[in-house]
């Protein structure tokens, strides 16, 4: 066991929440990550892009043009701020709500749309649901639906880097619900024991589909779960992108100094349904949603920029028009792109197609075609 003093006897208030961006648009110097205006504008553009694409994808789903979407409405700052703190050679392990961060790191909008349509150009070759793309070029891991499983993977990457003496950290996204999973427990425990440079980013958005946080844990916070693993836990205002950047950067630096992982609880709120398959009116009142709307993470950054004279209404209008144009263009292409080739169904199961899959491939290719999805 660690010879360090037990964390829980430390002096910090475990309920304290790190925040930087004040209501009046100024920054608390205590945690200010010192972002230049260009950096903040970069982040703001991606926040807006994320929100706007979320809305567009939901609309496409409602129109029956794509099958599914799982969005990040209200959680954009927690997602983009933490991703922004990760360096190019660090690895990111998404949960499923983080497409905005992938785009910010360089994943192309076209590829994202290809994934939403599951077409032949989809990076995952139409094999997974929408929002389950991959992008190795930006060290973005593959997305899996089972909750929590990516947590141990992020640990393994940081572990591999440590064994190889390479200065690489990993960040893993997961929700409040995922803290109940086996992989959360194993992953954080392993990272603690082996002092690995992992940032565990818990998006506490209040809900696991219809299950509220009180049903997930008897603790008051998620950050304090860090105590059980002998590592620091930090609570941060997840709707304050400055604060999220600051605490994530500190966690990365700590990890790379060999001091081990950090558990960050980003406090935010899932403003929409769990996904396009969910209707939150079935299980929650609108009041909380309204209260959280007043703390909208985009609005807060815009006010900050406007106050500094770094952002105008015209900028806003142009940005939105630009996003829309790029979105329309990408969707137009994605929608016209054919589905993956039949043969592709049998590739990548193994590095080479073995005899039984070759037989099955031949069976399909030479057999009758299936009915088309909608009749």
């Amino acid at each position: 066991m660690s010879s360090e003093k037990s964390r829980r006897s430390g002096n910090e208030d475990p309920n304290a929440i790190v925040s930087v961006l004040r209501d009046d648009g100024t920054l608390d110097p205590a945690h200010d990550p010192h972002l230049g205006d260009d950096e903040v504008k970069f982040l703001y553009r991606h926040l807006v892009e994320t929100r706007q694409l979320d809305e567009r994808f939901v609309a496409l789903q409602r129109q029956g043009r794509i099958g599914f979407h799982v969005g990040s409405l209200g959680e954009e700052a927690a997602i983009l701020g933490s991703a922004y703190a990760m360096r190019k050679n660090d690895w990111l392990f998404p949960c499923y709500r983080e497409f905005g961060a992938a785009l910010m790191r360089g994943f192309s909008l076209q590829k994202l749309c290809d994934n939403m349509f599951g077409n032949a150009n989809d990076t995952v070759k139409g094999r997974q649901m929408p929002c389950h793309y991959v992008c190795r070029a930006v060290n973005w891991a593959s997305i899996s639906s089972p909750v929590g499983t990516q947590i141990t993977h992020a640990v393994g990457v940081a572990w591999g880097a440590k064994i190889r003496r390479e200065q690489v950290a990993s960040l893993v996204y997961f929700g409040d619900g995922a803290t109940s999973s086996s992989d959360f427990h194993s992953g954080v425990n392993f990272a603690g024991v082996f002092r690995l440079p992992v940032v565990f980013l818990c998006r506490n958005n209040g809900w696991a589909i219809s299950v509220p946080v009180e049903r997930q844990t008897a603790t008051h916070t998620f950050a304090e779960k860090a105590v059980a693993y002998g590592i620091p836990g930090v609570r941060v205002d997840g709707n304050d992108i400055f604060a999220v950047v600051a605490v994530t950067r500190r966690a990365v630096e700590r990890g790379l100094r060999g001091e081990g992982p950090t558990l960050i609880e980003a406090i935010t709120y899932r403003m929409g349904g769990h996904s396009t398959s969910d209707d939150p009116n079935r299980y929650r009142e609108n009041q909380a949603v309204e209260a959280w709307a007043a703390r909208d993470p985009l609005e807060r950054v815009r006010r900050y920029l406007q106050k500094r004279g770094a952002w105008s209404d015209a900028d806003e209008k142009n940005l939105k028009a630009d996003i829309d144009a790029r979105f329309r263009a990408a969707v137009a292409i994605a929608e016209k792109t054919p589905p993956p080739a039949l043969e592709s169904m049998f590739e990548d199961v193994y590095a080479k197609v073995p005899w039984h899959l070759a037989e099955q491939r031949n069976e399909v290719v030479s057999g009758p075609r299936a009915p088309t999805p909608h009749g």
Partner: protein
Amino acid sequence: MALINMVQAINEALRISMRGDERVVVLGEDVGKVGGVFRVTAGLQEEFGEERVIDTPLSENGIVGSAVGMALYGMVPVVEIQFADFIWTAYDQIVNELAKYRYRSGGEYSAKIVIRTPVGGGIRGGHYHSQHPEAAFIGVPGLKVVIPSNPYDAKGLLLASIRDPDPVVFLEPKRVYRAAKGEVPDGDYLVPLESASIVRPGRHVTVLAYGAMLYEALDAAAKAADKGVDAEVIDLRTLWPLDINTVIDSVKRTGRLVVVHEAPRTNGFGGELVSLVTERAFFHLEAPPVRVTGFDTPFPYTLELEYLPLSHRILPAILSLARS
């Protein structure tokens, strides 16, 4: 009698079980207020309260493990695993604990729980919302595995499963959750476990199917009839222990066997069925049995209808087998 779908039928079975037996509790993720992501448990929490219809933390092994404990204490927990694809973290509890509890305790204890879980593809769910993992449970001594294909059976089989003394894995073919409608008695009735149903009698080929694929088998059989081939279609209903007599009798009559399942072919239940039939009716077989199954790949998204063993793949199998 009312015309209802499978979701409603299963809901009725749960309600009747809970009304009739205080020991029955329902637990899982989102089973409470929202009534399950497929609405199967809708209204139960309102009627039976939060103590008997329980939203749990997000941990499948926690759900099954604590249900085993409840069962030891004499409760009859009916667990919902939101999608069968998410059952694997509970697999240790299922294989090593639930299935073996009676045996390993020399019969002093038993852990009677029912695990309900939606299975199968065709709903645009990709890898992780489409798995059909019956084989992983059939091979585990101590478990019973049940899968209804229609509302009448769904209600009667679930009522029987809850009352059966052994642990039951109850698979629900979600592709036909709402599509399969039928007349269902309002009250309590049982469809016995371990009894298959000859849904379409026939003379030339025996087709074994279950769950959502039953409809594909029936569609193929209807089309085969147009071409003069008379296929018998059997809905297995309980996969294990199998109603072996119905299966073997049929193959002895027809001399030809087609097995249909959505799961990958290799080491799927089809292999077991083919072996059982080959062992017991070898000299009645006119031709080698044929498996029409999902392929040996993870379940795909865009091409899911090419992956599934739908009617367009069953029909040629029936026809060529009948003519061989």
